[in-house]
Symmetry: C2
């Protein structure tokens, strides 16, 4: 009997979210749609220039953990915050969602990570992340019993940015596989793929990771191709299970010769795309760890993504379990 359905590991980040025009991104050298890494000085500069904002707990894998819990499944999270005000908010929010979170916080410096997210009128988000306390996440933060007791351990590719998190992931993978569990990752961002392409391919080909999530741009970046079909054929080859999301064009899950293509769940209005991929992964992994078909998993992912992009902020403000029931994809 496993203790958790999904354990998520990632950079623990509080989001600071404001609307901005495209001109603002251009004037401030912010790459649109990407995660831009910034230092403390630039964080202060951008905050001075930022419009009125709202704060919400975020972090890619943290959002996924919250999503899994919102479906009613058992989720845990590893991530490093500092014992400061934002760290308190982060811990509160993820625990209040029902996620087990016990990573030892830093005492003092650097402060809890924050990401200034500018949402343009088209709903696209451009992130500017100061990693702060996240740089201290290391192998000592891997709680062995939780990894051994989780059906799937999921992590974000962004973890290759801080210095020691990759060692933590390798340790987690060993524990998971020694206990007959599976490892999953998201490629996170096409620029992140560009920074760590060879290492990510090695994670896949060596079997360190079993289940890989990517969006279209990340898949193309991974194989340095402009052709979508080429990219997904290569991913099918390199992973036990590969899932590629394509925004409004839906998603495709591939396992050996098996393929499930699902259209995107309909939305009324795209408000803020923050968290779309994170919540897709949450829905998919919720279904996967419940033993559902690839097609069902993809539908559950699409439902979760559709909810989060129709609100401001990266974690669903309504019950995903109820949303899945309403959509006829889950029994009430």
């Amino acid at each position: 009997m496993s203790e958790f359905d999904v354990l998520c590991i990632g950079n623990a980040i509080v989001d600071i979210i404001a609307r901005a025009e495209d001109d603002f991104l251009h004037e401030n050298d912010i790459i649109k749609g990407a995660m831009n890494l910034i230092d403390a000085e630039r964080a202060e500069l951008l905050y001075d220039r930022m419009g009125p904002a709202v704060e919400a707990s975020g972090g890619s894998a943290g959002n996924t953990a919250a999503g899994v819990a919102s479906f009613g499944a058992r989720a845990a999270y590893f991530g490093k915050v500092c014992e400061d005000h934002l760290g308190g908010i982060y811990r509160h929010d993820i625990r209040a969602q029902g996620v087990a979170f016990d990573t030892r916080p830093l005492n003092g410096f650097p402060p809890t990570a924050r990401s200034m997210i500018f949402v343009t009128p088209d709903g696209e988000r451009s992130m500017n992340t100061y990693l702060g306390a996240c740089v201290e996440l290391g192998p000592e933060d891997i709680e062995e019993d939780k990894v051994a007791g989780s059906k799937v351990t999921f992590f974000e590719g962004y973890l290759w940015d801080p210095p020691r998190a990759k060692d933590a992931i390798r340790k987690a993978s060993e524990i998971a596989h020694a206990n007959g569990r599976e490892m999953s990752m998201t490629l996170s961002d096409p620029f992140c793929v560009d920074r760590y392409r060879d290492e990510f391919l090695d994670l896949m080909r060596s079997g360190t990771v079993d289940i890989v999530f990517a969006n279209e741009d990340e898949a193309k970046s991974l194989y340095q191709t402009a052709d979508f079909e080429t990219a997904i054929a290569a991913m099918r080859e390199d992973c036990k299970l590969a899932i590629v999301t394509r925004s409004e064009k839906g998603s495709v899950a591939m396992r050996g010769n098996e393929t499930a293509s699902v259209s995107a769940h309909e939305i009324n209005e795209l408000v803020d795309s923050t968290g779309a991929g994170d919540l897709y992964a949450a829905g998919f992994l919720f279904g996967y760890t419940a033993g559902r078909s690839l097609e069902d998993c993809a539908h559950l992912g699409s439902i979760a993504a559709s909810i989060v992009i129709q609100q401001i902020g990266p974690r669903p403000q309504v019950s995903l379990r109820q949303a899945a029931i309403d959509a006829g994809r889950l029994k009430g």
Copy 2:
């Protein structure tokens, strides 16, 4: 030539907003729809029990100032924060909206005020406010030049809760009237009216305040009557200009024998009623200081309120100026 259209004075509060069921309010002795004052200990207890939240700058008069600025008018604000993380957020958000804000912050203790707001499925909000640094606002925080240079100085009835803010308001009223300006207030909350009924009536009858905003419940509470017509007849008598809002039933503005009744602006869905009255006042005072008719002012108030109740959080995430143009109530 005046420097500001509207100067707002109030409790500077950061909102911590989460959804909750009605049962939660009952189990935790929270009066629904009201502002419940709490101490630091109860703030900690309620936060422990609160679901995942988002943080946003709030405070009734602060929201009004942000709304006035969002219409493109010149706004200023007086309110007390502490030099802590929430204080930094508060200062950032109100300045980033274009509001002049220079009140000297506290150095150390008590911390910046926060209000835990539980939003029930019907969109009603129930507030739990720890006043923190707000208890230190006093006459020394009244910047004379800003009061003298503002067409209208607006404050919240909630300022009667901290000990010395009422002295600050009396000082502001003297300066405003000595400079031919007007004073305005909102009655804030029916329970607040109950706490300070005689003082509020005296502010009106003595001419300390010229323009008074109330919702239906507050007007009834002020005159201890269950009859709406009785309440508004008395308000018409006691104020130079009285405005009573009635949620979906619209609003009525009364000045001597003049009356303007306006229906509520249509909405698609009531998401979170936080800030409805604050933003109504912003729209009305924006119109009033621009020399518009009472009917126009009431329409502008209704537009602003309709925007803020269709989002989570108390300050509009879109331009109110643009919303008023789109509604045909302002020239582009």
